[in-house]
Symmetry: C2
Subunit: 274 residues, 2 copies
């Protein structure tokens, strides 16, 4: 499952997101406790599991665009993904799904699946650039220390020093988080790991100018456009928020691969910590 | 249904998006031919109809975040929206839906519904501003002439002169469209009309620097965050695209109301014209 080497004590994302078909349109996947934050499974991790079930049912390898609405926090244990295909087209398959734990719905999903390796001879216009980041060695590891969520042993996150509010410099005052992501041992970051990447970084609101508690920021909805399969190696990420109002905040993400290609674009709507 | 005055010969958005419940979770809505572009119903118009059915079934007035995947073009005639509630929470109700015409699925949807008028005493941080626009009188009416889609008789769109490629100045070279929107006679732009607004402007790629045909740009998926109910009067809109590659283009939209409040944020993934 991995192009890199196994690292002792580290959980493999590929192995922990495997799903098993148990009936027509029904898939089982245990939620590992090794990808949670304070007892709740990471939202991107759950999304990746559901997306694998949906892709298998769709018979298409890549989620071109996928949306998850979060209904309840995921706890370690058995889960099931029930997938219903809405349309089988020549190029795309559209499917909706429910991910549940013992009949309690956790996520409701909707996605269009295709093949991102299909040849493309069309035009290419990119009016953006990857975020400028100091090299990973000069960035700050997020997690990995005792007391930090287990998941940050399994994914290597390095934050831009300007955005690492916890490192002594305080909040940047700008709702922005930039950094690097890879798996330990350089395990392969496949297309599904981009779904983890868009929700693995700390919330942008931790850098808000004032008045916000550092606490869990529950996601209502997360939409991800997958634009290309990532090249192996470090991924660059940038997350920004511009509209914090009415108890809601949006968070826009971009994930770029080592070759400078935008591989995923995300937006989530989250509730502010009370 | 309308706070403004009726205008002769103009279809009312409110009247044309009414839905009628015919069974548990099932709603009927005729697709009027007056909101189409070259025979296909506008995607935002269809979204608004489906959202009304979903909101009614949810028992919550406002789509807080809603996603539609487009399966087939909508033709004038009867349609049905089948809604399934995934979770009834205290604050939000999550529902999925299928909009079909004679058993042929047109849209697959997923939304979280709530009440945007609920009191909010939380913080407010806005790191953005409405687009700068010349006054509506100094902008260029889009449509409204013979041969233009009927829908532009029913919604008054004015484009920023710099973005109005059809007006003689040619393409701006920047994938951007800015302008004003209201209904004729100043009919009320309610929260559902924002779903029309995010898909009513011409595609940003019509202003792309080169090589792109002016043709239908089919939407694969459209997600809208509704952030507030709009004040009456003109809405300001800005749409930009930054990533045109692999045969896909994303289009990011913002709708601001007359009081300078961001009322909707949208993103769609579309296929390039071949």
């Amino acid at each position: 499952m991995s192009e890199g080497q196994e690292v002792a004590g580290v959980r493999s994302f590929a192995a922990d997101t495997l799903v098993e078909q148990v009936a027509a349109g029904r898939y089982q996947a245990p939620l590992s406790p090794q990808w949670d934050i304070a007892g709740n499974a990471n939202g991107g991790f759950m999304l990746a599991i559901a997306a694998r079930a949906m892709a298998q049912e769709a018979g298409r390898p890549d989620p071109v665009t996928i949306t998850a609405h979060y209904l309840a926090p995921g706890r370690p244990g058995p889960t099931e993904v029930e997938v219903r295909v809405a349309k089988r087209g020549k190029r795309f398959v559209v499917a909706s799904a429910t991910m549940s734990a013992v009949a309690k719905p956790l996520l409701q999903l909707l996605g269009t699946f295709g093949d991102l390796t299909a040849p493309d001879h069309g035009p290419r216009i990119i009016d953006a650039a990857p975020p400028e980041l100091p090299p990973p060695e000069a960035c700050l590891r997020y997690g990995g220390q005792p007391g930090m969520p287990a998941m940050y042993d399994n994914v290597d996150l390095r934050l831009h020093p300007e955005d690492a509010w916890f490192a002594g410099g305080g909040r940047s005052g700008r709702m922005r988080v930039r950094g690097w992501l890879r798996f330990p041992g350089d395990a392969h970051t496949d297309v599904m790991s981009l779904l983890l990447a868009v929700d693995a970084f700390p919330p942008t609101v931790f850098n808000a100018p004032t008045g916000l508690t550092i606490a869990w920021v529950p996601t209502i909805e997360l939409t991800v456009h997958l634009r290309a399969r990532p090249a192996p190696g470090w991924l660059r990420a940038i997350f920004t928020s511009r509209f914090l109002s009415g108890g809601f905040v949006e968070e826009d993400g971009e994930i770029w691969d080592r070759t400078g290609t935008l591989v995923a674009q995300s937006r989530q709507l989250a509730l502010l910590p009370l």
